[in-house]
């Protein structure tokens, strides 16, 4: 079993890139791999507590919570990116953490694979 580090940087709520990365993480965890997930840039939108599930938007919060519960999935938001968007510590979904960018690079250190979704 391996470790996959995913960095999602600028995917939109409303696009399916963020969905892709979460579903990929889910599939990897199901197979017994561990996944570190880094939210940076606009992807920190996923860390915001209290997102209402509409059918017109993908609702990823539930999947993320279930993944956290497996113990094989760590999710961390870039603290500065979150603050810049007005997401403070108390706004963060349960189980998600906030660190500076070096957390992501440290996670890459012992990752078997890194998927950096850097632009779109």
């Amino acid at each position: 079993m391996g470790k996959l580090t995913i960095g999602c940087f600028s995917s939109l709520v409303g696009s399916l890139s963020l969905d892709f990365s979460v579903k990929l993480a889910e599939a990897a965890v199901k197979k017994g791999h561990t996944v570190d997930y880094w939210m940076s840039g606009n992807a920190t939108m996923m860390s915001k507590k209290g997102q209402r599930a509409f059918k017109d938007y993908s609702a990823l919060a539930k999947t993320v919570q279930e993944l956290i519960a497996t113990g094989k999935f760590q999710i961390t938001a870039c603290e500065a990116c979150a603050e810049a968007r007005g997401y403070h510590k108390e706004d963060t979904i349960e189980g998600a953490r906030r660190f500076s960018m070096d957390w992501y690079l440290a996670s890459a250190f012992d990752a078997d694979r890194v998927l950096h979704i850097g632009g779109d």
Partner: protein, 98 residues
């Protein structure tokens, strides 16, 4: 190197992809990248399909956009999220998102 490219767009990234070279190269079409695998323009298939023999498309994204495997270019293999995980861990050492 063994390089897996996840191609997520239809109108950008082609210039970068074309120059990548690898001992083993695989391309996985996801998101709007699936149009490379499922459409033609003026009768021509995407030139990306000539880049390698290892071509995959994510079934979930293909079907979300109104296509089925019947629309696929015969060179492209339909895969699931679970298959993509295996491709990432077993077939390629480095993974790139375009």
């Amino acid at each position: 190197m063994k390089l897996g490219v996840i191609m997520s767009d239809y109108r950008t990234g082609e210039d970068v992809l074309k120059r990548l070279s690898a001992e083993k190269l695989g391309i996985i079409f996801v998101g709007n990248g699936v149009y490379h695998a499922a459409t033609k323009e003026a009768g021509k298939t995407s030139s990306i399909l000539e880049k390698t023999g290892n071509l995959y498309v994510l079934t979930e994204d293909l079907e979300s956009r109104g296509f089925t495997s019947a629309n696929l270019d015969s060179r492209v293999k339909a895969v699931t999220y679970s298959d993509v995980v295996d491709l990432i861990f077993n077939d390629y050492e480095k993974i790139v998102w375009l």
